[in-house]
Amino acid sequence: MRRQLTILTALLLVAGSVLAAVSALAQSKGEIVIGLQCDRTGATQIVGTVLCPGFHDYIALVNSKGGVDGHPIRAIEIDHEYKVPPGVESYERHKKEGAVTIAVYGTPHIYALAAKLTEDRIPGTSPGFGSAAAADGQRYPYIFPIAATYWSQGAAAVDFVKKQMNGSLKGKKIAYLFYDNPAGREPIEVLEDLAALENFQLKTFAVPPPGVEMGAQVLDIAQRFKADFVIAHLFGGAPSVSIKELKRVGYPLRKVVSFVWGAAEANIDGAGGFGVAEGYYAMQFAGVGKDYPVLNEIREMYKKQGKPAPKEMDSTVFYNRGVLIGALHVEAIRNAVKAKPDGKITGEDAKKGFEKINNFTLGGLVPPLKITSTDHEGGGLVQIWQVKGGKFEKVTDWYAAYQNVVAKHIKEAGKK
């Protein structure tokens, strides 16, 4: 038995060293590694199964054009089932493989890895989730939200409601329907500030996890509180339920605006399709639809390989977000390689690369972000789209609102 154990241990050691040698070999060719965390099987699989292929397709497109200055990009995906220990393991694996940037996925994961990313000097991104305070690049030098945080989304939602109410919110009633977890509660402080500023009445309605039962809250919003507008911030399957329930009590969906995680085709389909959700407003941090040059190039790339375009491309909201995340990572690496032409870039170089991203729009799919060493959010830009005639239609262009209020909260959080 002991001998077998010895043999087993020896085999494991050999396997480990071979793997290490292989990865060392790969790096000597000037390959640049990006780590990608994914959730294709866990709580948010409706996102992961579409978002991650988008990310990979963009990387494949870059590589098919010769990579970044001749350096091929290798994206290593690791699925963590939305659990924290596998997330930590995947981070260490990415670090071992020499990743210069890591696309973290999941709010608890970005919290769990915040200290590590900073210690190891590897920039990690948390687009559309995670801590809003991480927009402060001085306090969290290696965390990049790179998309509107929940605070910015809250501010943008209030601004949108104001425009819908003909420019004044005075005396209006706004209901905030949210998933009762830290991410769901995060925007409340900003919304409360704005309620005082704009003189509207804000009432919060918590939906307890897992978010499939909200009949009482919705009835309250529609019939007792009689909200003039609903701002919804739900995750997973909950947005679909909210659409169904609001429809059931007869609340007009053209008076509902959802944050970014209740804004995809999958959410609408789950509620019974675009016919049911007619009028529903959804906030986006990436462009929606198939009509972008970069998506045409990806389809072109597949055609050249003699393959049909992947079916994930039909779910444009999450797919395009995957493309956006991939594109911003590649852009950061491109900036880093420009500063260091030998291509031996480190996490620190990639961090500086992120901080040089300015007005990189990819034909409208990416908002014109301006990421600096102090602002890692890049401006907090969003678009509002509406369900109309069987598809999403653009209502507003990229905008951000009440940036002074959001900035005040970021500053306060930094003092803690």
Partner: protein, 355 residues
């Protein structure tokens, strides 16, 4: 361990109850200590040490849960919540009072023990599945409380950043440092539990598990010992939570949700109820198996499928294989990996003369 025991005759109760049943066991333990304290940390890459660290954290938690479920026979689905109690106690003490880790570790453990004993009160009247539901309620109440009481959670984000532990002026930050830090507590937990089970308290736990009415009749105070079992088990959970907090540098309530409680139950059931070695096997199995399956898939998946398909396949197949292997091992040996290991051992004990 793996020894022949022929020629060793036990002539007293002390000898039968000794921590090392055979003299040679000392040497095996010494050899294991060399492997775990020197060979592994000094030869392996940081990545493998990080995996080992996750295993160590799981080992301590699983041993703690096994004291309650395996040794005392009280089912609990609140282990994750007790961890969060320890984690937030430690995080608050460290951040508000600047307490060093020995203090926060002890305080986190004790606070979890207290809360655990309170959640364990229903065990005095109800058993089995009913008790499981009562502890489930405890899990949900604690989760809700931490989530909503900002005095505990330190803000709506319910996460508190904690500085790395220090030894004197040395900051334990690398995975190798954490490996030694955690391994120390693993050893304490193993030795502590093995000894606990040799004492009056441990035997009382086992008596309660086997037949609580009989235990009461022979003079065991059921009230005291059931709550004590909850307290000790929760103490381990609290310590696990504190160690996890130091390992990650942050206490975040989403790391201790109900899924974690289920995972730990899975560990001890797969490993073997009522055995320390079983807890260790279970923790290793549940933590490592997904990683091993992924490595295997990455190596061989490309032979059969296209890269994009492999990426989609790995996580799904991993779940399926993981489930299938759990079923396989439980069918082969319903009493867990520990029993499997003992069977192998007893086979080799008389080998090659099996009859």
């Amino acid at each position: 361990m793996i020894h022949r025991e022929c020629g060793i005759l036990k002539t007293s109760y002390e000898a039968d109850m000794a921590l090392y049943p055979l003299p040679i066991a000392r040497w095996t333990v010494a050899a294991l200590a060399v492997v775990f304290f020197l060979v592994i940390p000094l030869s392996l890459h940081e990545y493998f040490l990080s995996v080992a660290n996750l295993v160590w954290i799981a080992v301590i938690g699983a041993i703690g849960l096994n004291i309650l479920v395996g040794y005392t026979g009280q089912v609990s689905i609140g282990h994750g919540a007790f961890m969060s109690v320890g984690a937030y106690t430690a995080a608050n003490l460290a951040n508000r009072l600047g307490a060093p880790w020995p203090v926060t570790l002890l305080a986190g453990g004790l606070m979890a023990a207290l809360i655990g004993a309170i959640v364990g009160i229903p065990s005095l009247r109800i058993k089995g599945l009913y008790l499981a539901i009562a502890t489930l309620a405890g899990q949900l109440i604690i989760e809700w409380t931490i989530n909503h009481v900002t005095f505990i959670s330190g803000g709506v984000q319910a996460s508190i950043e904690v500085a790395r532990p220090r030894l004197g002026s040395y900051v334990l930050s690398s995975q190798r440092d954490m490996y030694y830090f955690l391994l120390f507590f693993v050893v304490v937990a193993i030795v502590g539990t093995l000894n606990l089970m040799r004492t009056r308290v441990g035997r009382a736990f086992i008596a309660i598990r086997d037949q609580d009415i009989a235990a009461e009749i022979i003079g065991i105070n059921i009230f005291r010992y059931k709550l004590l079992a909850f307290a000790i088990s929760s103490f381990y959970a609290g310590v696990t939570g504190v160690l996890y907090t130091y390992f990650l540098g942050i206490a975040n309530y989403e790391q201790f949700q109900i899924g974690v409680s289920i995972d730990y139950l899975a560990m001890i059931i797969i490993g073997g109820l009522g055995s320390v070695l079983g807890s260790i096997f279970g923790a290793i199995f549940v933590t490592l198996l997904p990683i091993v399956i992924r490595y295997a898939m990455e190596a061989f998946g490309g032979v059969f499928f296209e890269p994009q398909t492999v990426l989609n396949l790995i996580p799904n197949l991993r779940l399926m294989l993981f489930g299938a292997l759990i079923i396989f091992f439980l069918i082969v040996e319903p009493e867990g990996l520990n029993r499997l290991w003992r069977n192998i051992r007893s086979y080799f004990r008389v080998w090659p003369f099996a009859y």
